[in-house]
């Protein structure tokens, strides 16, 4: 027994001693292989996007890397923000990190990144090569802190099929079913027409009793009004529905009603009065029914609500004066606009409907895919999800036989005779050793030798041709400011060199490689995004998986594209704005008031941040 104890003890001591003497290596200690310097690259993408980036890394290692003696060791991981943060704090950061856009300024302000200006200059990388919004986003306090790997922008996605199915109703409202809304006011009107909401404004017997009068007014006595506009028409005939507002609602808005000269102790009596009450109290919850479909809902998917002010010509932060501007009139209007949707649809109906959608973006229950919302704000990646989860949306107008033939593309195998392929796909085009077959939204390319297929590959049809088959369309999200074109929020993934990287030069070599036009186009095609560069090839636009990539290219290059405000406390600002947006769409606080309170809290926090930052710099000897 004693021997066992001794052996056991010795093994333990040896293991502990080994771990203490030879701790696990950090991410960066210099390594040199036969190929040269090994640099570590941490990236946030996992799954498909992760493996697509792996392909780009492989290209680098086989070309520039080989030539210059650099090998990129790629590690895809989740929670990259925390891991990079901790590794940097511990002094063992990766040489390159692909971080979120929200981190760039935060990390730069806290001195956690290497400035890239000198490297960029040495490599001839300058602002004029880039779409200005993306370059400017990389600059904080006059220094360049990162370069974009993949950029994106936000545009309006709309369901063309639903537009067509409701063409008559849209036309009656003076709207064109063949195009996207061009102004924000128009978007609101499209949304109203396309909403489907079960409403129970009038008892059935009241409708029956007044069937004649309703018919005379062109209204259907067997249906309830489904939109605010329709309700008004019914009110003209039937009067204001009984107990239109709950007593509590009138109590809640009593002050404002009184201020507007209305009596909070009674219900509105006629249409003009009802309109005035609704303007203040919103449509009542009790009588606005369950929703089946929303034309548009600001909270779906709601990812860009913090940036809505851009479409109102405003921003929550003024970089010139370094001041938070949450109470600017444009910002307030933006939140009031979001609020107006809930007021129109009813608090309970709108919130239950949104809550039912949950966060199921990457699933077949996605609200846009199932048609629960007809229009939404989205990025260029959307086509990845339609193609994966509901490919029929990308082939709406494709004839049935072509759909079958497109499906047969996968049955074409190397070694098959041309005859066999033609049996599957019909006669192809071209002669000699190159043959192509077009079906659906793709083209199959085959290399033929000795009458047999030697190699196959497929391509999308040119974008312009593909667009006409799509059930959905993309257009710029209209601005609230008349005449403003191409307003968008532009986001990005960013490559940085964390402070303490042991191979800065080699790391920048890799970052610079990603900025090359052909590499940028390959990566952004794979990730289904637009390019960060001003110059893009025709092929990039035409062969891109998203046939509407031209829209993103245009709006992201325009002067009305805006990115994240360059304020180091953005995560806190964003959290506060999220609160304001939630209060607005839940009608639990007036946006103006909520923004005022958020502004005060954030001003205090920013002042505190700046005070502490000055102290940190003073102690670090950066500022005497």
């Amino acid at each position: 027994m004693k021997h066992v104890q001794i052996v056991f003890f010795t093994v333990f001591v040896a293991a502990v001693a080994y771990l203490l003497l030879f701790p696990p290596a950090g991410a960066t200690p210099a390594k040199r292989t036969a190929q040269g310097t090994v640099i570590t690259y941490w990236e946030k993408w996992t799954g498909l996007e992760g493996s697509q980036m792996q392909e780009i890394v492989k290209d680098f290692n086989n070309t520039v890397g080989k030539e210059k003696g650099i090998y990129v060791q790629y590690l895809s991981m989740s929670k990259i923000d925390q891991k990079t943060l901790i590794a940097t704090a511990a002094g063992i950061p990766p040489d390159v990190a692909g971080v979120w856009d929200t981190q760039l300024v935060q990390f730069a302000a806290l001195d956690a990144l290497e400035p890239l200006d000198d490297y960029a200059k040495a490599y001839g990388i300058s602002r004029d090569m880039y779409k200005p919004v993306y370059w400017d986003a990389m600059v904080y306090e006059g220094k360049l802190w990162g370069l974009v790997s993949t950029p994106w922008a936000v545009a309006l996605h709309y369901n063309k099929r639903t537009f067509q199915e409701n063409a008559e109703a849209l036309k009656r409202a003076g709207l064109d079913p063949n195009r996207a809304p061009a102004t924000l006011q128009e978007l609101d009107r499209y949304a109203e027409v396309l909403d489907i909401q079960h409403a129970h404004w009038y008892p059935e017997e009241v409708l029956e009793k007044n069937a004649e009068a309703l018919k005379a007014a062109g209204l259907d006595a067997t249906k309830q009004p489904t939109t605010a506009e329709e309700l008004e028409k019914y009110v003209k005939v039937l009067g204001v529905p009984e107990n239109f507002f709950e007593g509590r609602t009138l109590e809640k808005y009593a002050e404002r009603l009184k201020a507007a000269g209305l009596d909070p102790s009674r219900q509105p009596r006629d249409l003009p009065e009802m309109r005035r009450y609704v303007l203040i109290c919103g449509l009542p919850d009790r009588v606005s029914g369950r929703m089946e479909r929303a034309g548009y809902l600001p909270a779906e998917p709601g990812w860009f609500m913090s940036h809505t002010a851009y479409w109102f010509g405003a921003s929550v932060y003024d970089a010139k004066t370094d001041k938070l501007t949450l109470t600017d009139e444009g910002v307030v209007r933006a939140y009031e606009w979001m609020e107006s949707y809930t007021k129109r649809l009813g608090r309970k109906a709108a919130n239950d409907f949104k809550s039912g959608m949950q966060d199921v973006f990457a699933s077949a229950q996605n609200a846009f895919l199932v048609g629960s919302v007809v229009m939404e704000k989205q990025g260029p990646w959307m086509v990845n999800y339609t193609e994966d989860l509901k490919p029929s949306m990308d082939r709406w107008n494709v004839p049935k036989d072509e759909l079958e033939r497109e499906k047969n593309f996968t049955d074409v195998k190397v070694g098959m005779s041309v005859g066999e392929v033609e049996t599957l796909l019909g006669p192809g085009q071209g002669a000699g050793d190159k043959r192509t077959w077009k079906a659906g939204i793709k083209t199959l390319h085959a290399t033929i030798a000795d009458g047999k297929v030697r190699e196959t590959s497929w391509k999308w049809l040119p974008a312009e041709e593909r667009k006409k088959y799509f059930e959905w369309g993309t257009a710029e999200f209209p601005s609230a400011i008349p005449g403003v074109q191409g307003a968008t929020y532009a986001g990005y993934d960013v490559l940085v060199i964390p402070r303490g990287s042991k191979h800065k030069k080699e790391a920048f070599e890799f970052i610079a490689y990603i900025q090359r036009q052909e590499v940028q186009e390959k990566l952004c095609s794979l990730h289904c995004k637009n390019s960060v560069l001003r110059k893009v090839s025709k092929e990039f636009v035409s062969n891109h998986q998203n046939p509407y990539i031209d829209v993103y290219e245009r709006i992201s290059a325009g002067s009305n594209a805006r990115c994240l405000p360059g304020i180091p406390i953005w995560p806190e600002v964003n959290a506060e704005l999220g609160q304001v947006a939630e209060k607005a769409v839940k009608l639990s606080q007036e946006p103006r008031q909520a923004l005022q309170e958020a502004q005060e809290r954030l001003e205090a926090r920013y002042a505190e941040f700046k005070r502490r930052q000055a102290e940190r710099k003073r102690l670090a000897g950066i500022v005497k």
């Binding site: 925390q82 935060q106 309970k348 919130n351 239950d352 039912g356 402070r499 609160q579 839940k586 940190r616």
Partner: protein, 306 residues
């Protein structure tokens, strides 16, 4: 001490050393450092700067922009946590003890019922949150509960969409995972000597009197243990509301818990000093509550053989 005693001590410490080293390096040191950081301005990326009680002042008693005291989100998250603990803890105690008593009955399929009750506690928090998201879904076509409410002619309820409902919805779903506590109660119940019940029965005690005068006093050490664990667990609630609300504590921060704000301070806002101060505040709160529980325990906890 004799030479042999020293040798024995040496051996004992040597065998304890893996734990001692582990505790010191991975627990003791971080605890000590977190206290130090709570007195510092520390962003994790820069050297900590000593600021005294500044972090505590900002969180608790410093004048804020609204004219109140302390950080409004700190108080809000603390209030939410307290509300949750106040509802969940008694509910969990009653439900788990009740279930344990039912599972203690000698009935057919006892093992099956025990398995069914215990099973949910094996489900990872993420999976459980996903399942409950669907159960609570406000869409009457998708949400399990709302689909039935509609059939009964009632209006659907946005369980997780309305701040009035969200906390109770979370408490209810948390009760789904009381299997572990039930098992501990069950073990305690099986330790209650049969003779006591027989004696009580002979004395004419009915089912409620037997429960009140025999069962509860006899399992009071187990209740006490579960109470302490429950206080600690419910005050540290993090993963379920975090997953359920994407970290935002929706709706309207009604599910924004203390531990979530602590996490945000540490890893989103890079205010490690604030986060460390919050963790020490939480420690003090837990100590106070567990202290009260221990202080009162002599009056209601009965140990066999004492």
């Amino acid at each position: 001490m004799t030479k042999k005693d020293w040798q024995q001590l040496g051996k004992g410490l040597a065998f304890l050393s893996p734990w001692l080293v582990g505790f010191t390096v991975f627990t003791g040191l971080p605890i000590a450092l977190s206290f130090w950081f709570s007195l510092c301005d520390y962003t994790l990326l820069q050297k900590p700067v000593y600021v005294g009680l500044e972090n505590y002042r900002t969180l608790i008693w410093g004048k804020n922009s609204a004219g109140g005291y302390g950080d409004p989100w700190f108080w809000k998250s603390l209030w939410n946590t307290a509300r949750f603990a106040a509802v969940f803890l008694p509910a969990a105690m009653v439900v788990s003890l009740g279930l344990a008593m039912l599972l203690n009955l000698k009935i057919k399929g006892q093992a099956f019922y025990r398995t069914i009750i215990f099973l949910p506690s094996l489900v990872p928090a993420v999976a459980s949150a996903m399942v409950w998201l669907w159960i609570y879904n406000a869409d009457y076509k998708q949400g399990l509960i709302n689909a039935y409410l509609i059939k009964l002619g009632l209006d659907p309820v946005g369980f997780l969409a309305l701040k009035e409902w969200a906390m109770y919805a979370l408490v209810f779903m948390s009760l789904w995972g009381v299997g572990n506590t039930v098992i501990i109660y069950l073990a305690g119940l099986q330790d209650v000597p049969r003779e006591l019940y027989e004696a009580a029965e002979i004395d004419g005690a009915g089912i409620w009197r037997r429960l009140w005068h025999v069962t509860i006093p006899m399992v009071s050490p187990v209740i006490f243990f579960n109470l302490i664990m429950g206080i600690i667990g419910s005050l540290q609630t993090f993963s379920t509301p975090y997953i359920l609300t994407d970290g935002f504590g929706r709706p309207e921060r009604s599910l924004y818990f203390f531990a979530m704000y602590l996490y945000d301070n540490a890893f989103q806002y890079l205010k490690m000093g604030h986060a460390s101060a919050m963790s020490w505040i939480m420690l003090v709160i837990i100590l106070i509550f567990t202290g009260i529980a221990f202080w009162t325990s002599s009056r209601w906890v009965h140990y066999q053989g004492k």
